[in-house]
Amino acid sequence: MVNDPIHQFRIHNIFGPWNIFGFEIGFTNSNLFMGIIVAVITGFLLLTARKGSLVPGRLQSVGEMWYGLIHNMVDNVLGEEGMAFFPLVFSLFSFVLVANMLGMFPYFFTVTSHVIVTASLAVFVVALVIVVGIAKHGLGWFRLFVPHGVPMAILPFISLIEIISFLSRPISLGLRLFGNMLAGHIVLKVFAGFVVSLVALGLGGIIGSLAPLLMAVALTALEFLVAALQAFVFAILTCVYLNDALHPSH
């Protein structure tokens, strides 16, 4: 058994690689867990909506709170016309939340701990912002980068800075989620490794291994908080960026 903190992020094929159009494509553990995420979300929401009573029981309340959280978020940030984006924001939030939470189980693979996954989601969101912005406002959408009441002399520089800060959004959105998941899991494995190393040192080591064990428990609690918070932040930043597509002005 390999016990370095990086081994947990290894992607390996479950069903062997097939040669499709020259690419070596296989069904990996990352694919498996993405499928599990979709199954969990769909299954859980179907389960909570099964009874459909007017006064919700405990299980139905969970589904309603989940729906209501995102519904209120989209309503507050985007308004009525932004409700068209509700399915997207709900899907993103649910996927990231369940992906982060599934990664907290031992030996499970954290899908969002790979930058390709989080960067793909982030680039998709920003590309959608650009496409929707131009589709809705035409070339007038670019006045997002030309703030009001700026003296003509420095306007080109301000616009350049605005464009660069806009283009940094997919990077920051993707890296934030990736960095939090990667760092959290590495730290957890490092402290777990300390416990193992100390236990190997005899009775004093076993007693001393209580310290990294308690630290690992505290860190796991922190990681649950971070998992939920990062999903929420991803969703609300998606709403804020989509607001720039619908209402481009500074």
Binding site: N180, L182, Q230, I236
Partner: protein, 75 residues
């Protein structure tokens, strides 16, 4: 100094960036708490904004951690 030693030292220096992130997050929540103690009724409505601000500030610290991890673990 060989490249590997320089990488390890660079990873350690990169982790200093997270101090700024800690200060930033502390500033946000400190201001939120002082505002909430003055106006408790309005505190709940702004808690979401506090979380967004804290996540944005912490994100920059995480970027510096990513640089450190890149230096440590990418060949």
């Amino acid at each position: 100094m060989d490249a590997n030693a320089a990488k390890l030292i660079g990873a350690g220096i990169a982790c200093l960036g997270m101090g700024g992130a800690g200060i930033g997050v502390g500033l946000i929540f400190g201001n939120y708490l002082s505002g909430a103690l003055r106006n408790p009724a309005a505190a709940g409505a702004q808690f979401t904004n506090a979380l967004i601000g804290a996540a944005l500030a912490e994100g920059l610290g995480i970027f510096s951690l990513v640089v450190a991890l890149l230096l440590l673990f990418v060949k």
